[in-house]
Amino acid sequence: MEGSGVGGSESGSMSTVSRDDNMVVSSEDSSCPDESELELGLGLSLGGKSGGFKMHQLSKGGQFARILTAKDFPSVISAASPSSSSSSSSSSLSRANVTAGTKRTADSVAAANGSSQVVGWPPIRAYRMNSMVNQEKNLAAEGFNSTMVNHKSETSMVEKTTAGIGKYQNNGNTKLRKSLFVKANMDGIPIGRKVDLNAHESYEKLAKTLEDMFLKTTSSVNPTGSMTLELGAMKKITRPSKLLDGSSDFVLTYEDREGDWMLVGDVPWEMFLSSVKRLRIMRTSEATGLAPQLQERNQRQKSYVPTHETLPSLKTFAETKSAIRDSMNSWQMGMMVEMSKPLCNSECYVRP
């Protein structure tokens, strides 16, 4: 390591000026100066400096969790590579769920969302991920909010009333009701949404929101061939109010805490809120297995119940629905008819 150029003023020779020296200290940053490179990155909260503040610590000092890498994605990486130790990863992940509000693990966010992630991918900074977690709670609320407010005049503002959509704290203002966001998907549409159940008071309102989300918003995604068919099929369902009253080709279902798929509307609203995990607008033809499933629940072990493919069909279900189709013009009425059927005994509704 020569420092020939450094302090070369004494030696009096031009050749003592070191290009290396210059390159090291003079290369200019080509990125935007002001906001700098706010590239994003997700970061695992790895603990602070020794003797420093409290951040959650991972198991080994100086080590960090490697949860999954692309090596676990055989389709992506062609070359053979050693498998990294993932034994520590799951425990680290669960510990990583504790946040100190600093470089919190975005991987725990991923785990909460139920998707397995490659470490550090997509390349989003931890800071942004932290903010996103808090944003998510307001994401669907925003969508809902704007739909609601569009009906009001431009000049009227939301007064300080209840409403209570979303959750925020504002320097001592009353903390409003928490959000309860669940995912909602509709068969044939890859675009899922999230909906705040606590922003609705009834099945009817929920259904209306879902209809707005899935039928009224035009997708700007270029559909693939198969998707075009689905969209086309969807467009035949013209009257939104009939979407979920049993009169359309779709029915609203939900997955409860035990992993079972149930028809929405069977239980009182509050009870529904306490057990729903996610929603699915299912094609009627595929929703036919829900009745016997309920009856079998008490004898079955708790396990995740897969989707419609494994459920036996039940013709009477569809037939019953078509029978009431013409006489019903509201979602709730339709569901009340469903409720009258002996779908299960009262023990189903007992929750520990």
């Binding site: 390591m1 420092g3 450094v6 000026v17 070191s18 290396d20 020296d21 090291v24 200290v25 003079s26 290369s27 940053d29 080509s30 935007c32 906001e35 700098s36 590239e39 994003l40 997700l42 970061g43 602070g48 400096k49 420093g52 503040f53 100086g62 080590q63 960090f64 890498t69 994605f73 062609s78 590579s81 050693p82 990294s84 470089k103 998707s115 470490v119 997509p122 390349p123 989003i124 900074r125 931890a126 800071y127 903010s131 944003q135 998510e136 307001n138 925003e142 704007s146 407010v149 431009e154 503002m157 939301v158 300080k160 925020y168 320097n171 998907n185 890859p190 899922g192 700007s220 995604v221």
Partner: protein, 585 residues
Amino acid sequence: MGSYSSELKRSKDSDESARRSSFPDEVLERVLSLLKSHRDRSSVSLVCKDWYNAERWSRTHVFIGNCYSVSPEIVARRFPRIRSVTLKGKPRFSDFNLVPENWGADIHAWLVVFAAKYPFLEELRLKRMAISDESLEFLAISFPNFKALSLLSCDGFSTNGLAAIATHCKNLTELDIQENGIDDKGGSWLSCFPESFTSLEVLNFANLTSDINFDALEKLVGRCKSMRVLKLNRSVSLEQLQRLLVSAPQLAELGTGSFSQELTIHEYEDLESTLSNCKNMHTLSGLWDAKGIYLPALYPACSHLTFLNLSYAALQSVELAKLLAHCPRLKRLWVLDTVEDKGLEAVGLNCPLLEELRVFPADPFDDEIVHGVTEAGFVAVSFGCPRLHYVLYFCRQMTNAAVATIVQNCPDFTHFRLCIMNPGQPDYLTNEPMDEAFGAVVKTCTKLQRLSVSGLLTDLTFEYIGRYAKNLETLSVAFAGRSDWGMQCVLGGCPKLRKLEIRDCPFGNAALLSGLEKYESMRSLWMSACNVTMNGCRLLAREMPRLNVEVMKEDGSDDSQADKVYVYRSIAGPRRDAPPSVLTL
């Protein structure tokens, strides 16, 4: 400036003896002190010994892109009159959790030297450095003239450190705390600015989460009449924002707090009218939890807006479109992909002067929910914004054809960062690799300085890059390539390459070693989860003594594998503060 120095050199050569009398050092220094660009200064310092000296004595700002490439002693010896320092530390992939926790890049050793050699230091700008509260306090008391502190993506400190700065830095003009891993212990630090303190021009504490003492903030803003940049954190409400703006209508850059408090009509109108008084505003950010219904309050303040950062506001397409209709002068726009392609169409329609677009994913980890933006949005922007030259785009699908169209519309790209979020995903229409997309980019965009590639890529992409990307300085690669050949192409081409960062690619020792001569002209190389072995790294270290070759080992991995390799040139020798998990070869 280049022609100026060569002109001077010619005249000198012809009139050697007269030189000294007609060009005294003081004059030369005075002239050179006007040079701001580091590259120009480098050129100037190479002309001759006198110019080298004049340059080093006249330089007041030093930029160090890799804190381990040089030691503070060396810097202090060469540049005696530094007043402003910019330092960058950890490799960029530390942002994505790929660098061990205690890797290094601690500022303290630098501060100690600076305190001795640059007691008149005024500015310190750090990126990806580790800085403790003790260091912050040391900084605050060691430099009586200290004016500007900017911390971006740093960690190791808490709000206590900020309190020390606020307490002791009597001449502070800038406190810019951005995206750091900061331990937020509460907002009382802000109250530490003394009553007599009035010099603050830039205050950015958007990073922090806890409530600050609003009273103290209001008074601070009220007495700092020269304040031009104010970026609040989320705890500041709309109502409070309005009160602050009343006393600071001169703000040029505003970062709001939470934009979602429920307002009465009266409060809304107050906000609207206060915002309309902000005639100087050219940058707007924050807008957390922005409610669409309140956005119109911003419209009157947007007429001169050049930078709009909506990346924390989950807007829908219609809301964005309405807002952009009021921002005709926009040059830089950051958004979340909640705006979807429709929102980007609105960008193309409303922002003809747009130069930079960044689209961040609102839901990057959710595989089931597929919304966000697609290639259509990007194409729409390219049609409407021919001046576009900087893009960061996170999406879930892309096609080669779309990218070809985009660069045809916007051939002036300097920064093209495309992140197709699913690793190794092909063109979703043709199922082919995305080679041609990036080929189009490098062939068409001759000014390209920075490129991030993604999607399914073969070695062909790298052939293109090596052959065509003559101005490329930074290249980021992930989950791409087929063989060593890819990386060899890049190292064999790209004459201006400075930073190469690679993860999860099938490049091995042959590729690594093909760049032997190149690495000394680069700032750094990062390779993680590739096929490089310890032997390959040792060979590199042996052949190139002026490079630091560091390997980060992971628990349980093969002894022979070099899991993460970081190679950088340095005149300071191997570093002595590496943690045990980092091996210096």
